[in-house]
């Protein structure tokens, strides 16, 4: 008995094969947006592989963490490459998650029946940011230490649940080795577990519903998924891999100074670029707004923004583009401009 029928009897893979043969992708203007999700997935896979590799040498204790990262950078063969790829791919992944989100938003790909695809995607955005935030602390350097202090402090200012949440995140009142242990556990176990589930759902829903057709332009031409779309997507992956390799080789990620729990924060300290727009917004809000603490107002505003993001498909419904869709589009453009503008201002500001 040959292998094909043997596997077919057990796995029923021919159904998947048939599915892929008949799957098509619409050919539309701005069709490049359809590749963004795949690029994000590719970067995520790179993070899984390089993350597992880093686990071979990384030691998550206050004494050893920084030295073990130095060891990886200086002594392990190609350790500098593996760690730099992990750091750079993390940054590229955050960028592409945002690009993918805005692409899906402007193509209105969240329309019925894809509401849950959008919701799971928004959750994946939050998970990606949580990965970035927790991973940043692991080298246990000065910048990471203060970034974690500030970031968890912001969580601590959330009304009602903030204070207990801060203790839960830090594993105590302060950022200590307990925080490092927690962030390590969150980064390498809890977030990957949750992400696997949500990503699985997200990808399953995409297969279930197929690629979203932009409405109002008649039946689109269709590109067969195999091989046409797959080949184009693999070209995109190849380009990303090339860019990633160039960045990692030309700009290996620095290790920084080992965190000194007693040293003051260095001047001009900023969070990672993808948090700068939030960081700078909180800086700009005055100390008191309508008798409330300004910082809390800002944080609540961001939490509301997150809820709005999750609820997009339920706020803007309807098959055909209507006035509501035009308003949604305008708000989307404003949000994108706000994020880009605040990031730039945040970097120019002293």
């Amino acid at each position: 008995m040959s292998l094909g029928p043997w596997l077919e009897e057990r796995l029923r893979w021919r159904a998947a094969d048939q599915f892929l043969r008949h799957k098509t992708v619409p050919v539309v203007r701005h069709g490049y947006v359809y590749y963004f999700g795949g690029v994000t997935l590719f970067l995520f896979l790179i993070q899984v592989v390089t993350g597992l590799l880093l686990l071979m040498y990384y030691r998550p204790t206050a004494d050893a963490a920084h030295d073990s990262v130095r060891f990886i950078m200086a002594r392990v063969q190609f350790g500098w490459l593996v760690r730099s790829v992990h750091s750079w791919a993390a940054n590229l992944m955050v960028f592409w998650v945002f690009a993918h989100m805005f692409g899906a938003f402007f193509l209105r790909a969240y329309r019925r029946p894809r509401e849950l695809t959008w919701v799971s995607g928004a959750l994946l955005l939050f998970l990606t940011l949580a990965f970035g935030f927790t991973g940043y602390l692991l080298p246990w350097n000065t910048l990471a230490f203060f970034a974690t202090k500030v970031g968890t402090e912001i969580v601590g200012s959330v009304p009602l649940v903030g204070e207990p949440l801060l203790v839960l995140l830090r594993g105590g009142e302060d950022v200590t080795e307990a925080t490092l242990s927690r962030f390590f556990g969150i980064h390498v176990a809890i977030l990957p577990a949750i992400t696997t589930l949500v990503l699985g759902l997200h990808l399953f829903l995409i297969q279930l519903h197929g690629m979203s057709q932009p409405q109002g332009r008649g039946p689109a031409r269709a590109l067969p998924f195999v091989p046409g779309f797959v080949l184009r997507e693999s070209m995109a992956w190849l380009l990303v891999l090339g860019a990633l390799a160039a960045l990692a080789v030309l700009f290996p990620w620095p290790v920084g100074e080992k965190a000194d729990l007693l040293a003051p924060a260095p001047a001009g300290i900023k969070p990672e670029w993808y948090f700068v727009f939030m960081f700078h917004t909180l800086k700009l809000i005055p100390a008191h707004v309508l008798g409330l603490e300004g910082e809390r107002v800002g944080i609540v505003a961001f939490m509301l923004a997150a809820v709005v993001l999750l609820a997009v498909p339920f706020l803007e419904r309807g098959e055909q583009p209507t006035r509501a869709a035009r308003i949604a589009r305008a708000l989307g453009v404003l949000a994108a401009l706000y994020i880009v503008g605040m990031t730039i201002v945040g970097y120019l500001a002293p």
Binding site: M56, L81, L241
Partner: protein, 148 residues
């Protein structure tokens, strides 16, 4: 017209180039990964001698396992009161041996290997005697040295 199998067409050349390119790409990705997984050599602790115990710390007919150059070693005080030191790594499968006072043997619990107080194999599967170290008493310290 039928082509002979050896004839190179544009198509087969393109396939060949694509395949070779992908193989090269896979190589550049996996080569660093494989090298990364091989740990860099840990600097062997080349301490020539170590203070294993203090004089008076050990009763006759007892043993003590200590670290010598990052590996376990055993210091034995014989019933007659003499000191002997050996590698504590069993020559069979690298378990750490111990001194058993009631039978006066150095004993490996993993597969019931017995060594006498010169490190020679008395019974069990170990193929070679335990490596012996030198022992000298310097004032208060019992110093174990690697044989030159």
């Amino acid at each position: 017209m039928a082509r002979s199998p050896l004839q190179i067409t544009r198509r087969s050349l393109a396939d060949y180039l694509l395949g070779a390119g992908l193989a090269a790409l896979a190589g550049t990705v996996f080569y660093p990964v494989l090298r990364y997984l091989i740990p860099p050599p840990v600097k062997e602790v080349t301490a020539g001698s170590v203070v294993a115990a203090k004089v008076g710390e050990m009763q006759p007919n007892s043993g003590k396992v200590f670290l010598f150059g990052g590996k376990p070693a055993i210091l034995v005080r014989t019933p007659e009161g003499a000191y002997r030191a050996f590698s504590a790594v069993c020559t069979h499968l690298s378990c750490t041996v111990q001194y058993r006072a009631e039978i006066g043997h150095i004993w490996c619990a993993c597969h019931d290997g017995h060594f006498d107080l010169n490190g020679h194999v008395l019974a069990g599967p170990p193929p070679r005697p335990l490596a012996a170290f030198g022992v000298t008493v310097k004032e208060d310290d019992i110093v174990v040295t690697r044989p030159a």
